[in-house]
Symmetry: C2
Subunit: 195 residues, 2 copies
């Protein structure tokens, strides 16, 4: 067996573990998502699971990366930007996957504490998504948005709105309309956008 | 001694504990901010401290409330709205108190996990701040902002931007300019605002 086959098999196994983790999170929530619960679901010992993901944080990062890959259809969004409509689609989809959004938001919160294992992941993710979103905005509107902002000024605001609205929504999922709030923000970026 | 004196003394003692907690957080960070460390600083046993704050989460909520009271000069912002300039001032001040912002953001993240003791606090805080900010925006611009949004549509976006930008800033405090990003957002709300 070549090492390429090895690593393809390893990747398939990792994906299987991540899918199991998504199910465990949906069933038991962020705190209940222990490595032991996930290991049991895929028929591994906890020791066996640690071979693929050395900590709970590493596994949760795997879950978030898996979600991102699914959201963007596996494309490299830095090379080939998403549209704002696709970004709106992500927000709509998020409103139907509370457990995953809760996991993302809880891990984001933890990641700002001292020496947290997910800090580097979020730092690099923010840099990458800012670049990808600036490309999206430039593709849509050129070097100036209708509001007068540059794509580079607007990109961190799009991310902040998505992250920030999730917290308000998670605290009142029944009554806070996250997609409507995001649409209001898109109207700020382009007052002529769909009302 | 009347019960009013009792409670005034209790409040003074609580404020003293909260100030000590702010110092401990600045010195040791969110994870190092144990009840034991705070108790030691104010010369109480841990048991004595629990009389005022029954858990670490309760103490951290106390810290955030204290910061809010200070930020608004003790005013009830629902009855007497802040200005957008004052809101900008809060963001500028936050950029100089990383430890407290880190504590706020970490606790916000934790609060969305199952049955977290700070969940109710954040739910009520979001409701209250949305109402206060809508009043601020209405005072400044009337029933429609220059961008066409109503104050009620814009208020949750202001909060989301503040919460969301803090995470990007906390992951790159040296290079991410949080006040500049917030000013860009204010220009979205009012394209004629100070450039």
């Amino acid at each position: 067996m070549t090492s390429t086959q090895h690593s393809a098999r390893g990747q398939a196994r990792r994906d299987e573990i991540v899918r199991a983790a998504v199910e465990v999170i949906a069933e038991r929530g962020y705190r209940g998502a222990s490595l032991a619960a996930v290991a049991e679901k895929v028929g591994l010992t906890q020791q066996g699971l640690l071979h693929y993901f050395p900590s709970k944080e590493a596994l949760l990062i795997g879950v978030i990366q898996f979600r991102e890959r699914t959201d963007t259809g596996g494309r490299d969004t830095t090379a080939e930007p998403m549209t704002m409509a696709a970004t709106m689609g992500v927000v709509e989809a998020n409103a139907h996957r509370e457990a995953i959004v809760r996991t993302f938001s809880a891990l984001l919160g933890e990641s700002v504490t001292e020496d947290h294992p997910a800090a580097e992941y979020f730092r690099l993710r923010y840099r990458r998504v800012r670049v990808a979103l600036a490309a999206t905005l430039r593709q849509e509107w050129g070097d100036r948005l209708p509001s007068g902002l540059t794509p580079e000024e607007a990109a961190p605001l799009v991310i902040a709105i998505m992250d920030g609205l999730q917290f308000q929504w998670l605290h009142e999922p029944e009554s806070f309309d996250m997609p409507a709030a995001f649409r209001a923000f898109v109207r700020l970026l382009d007052p002529k956008a769909a009302q």
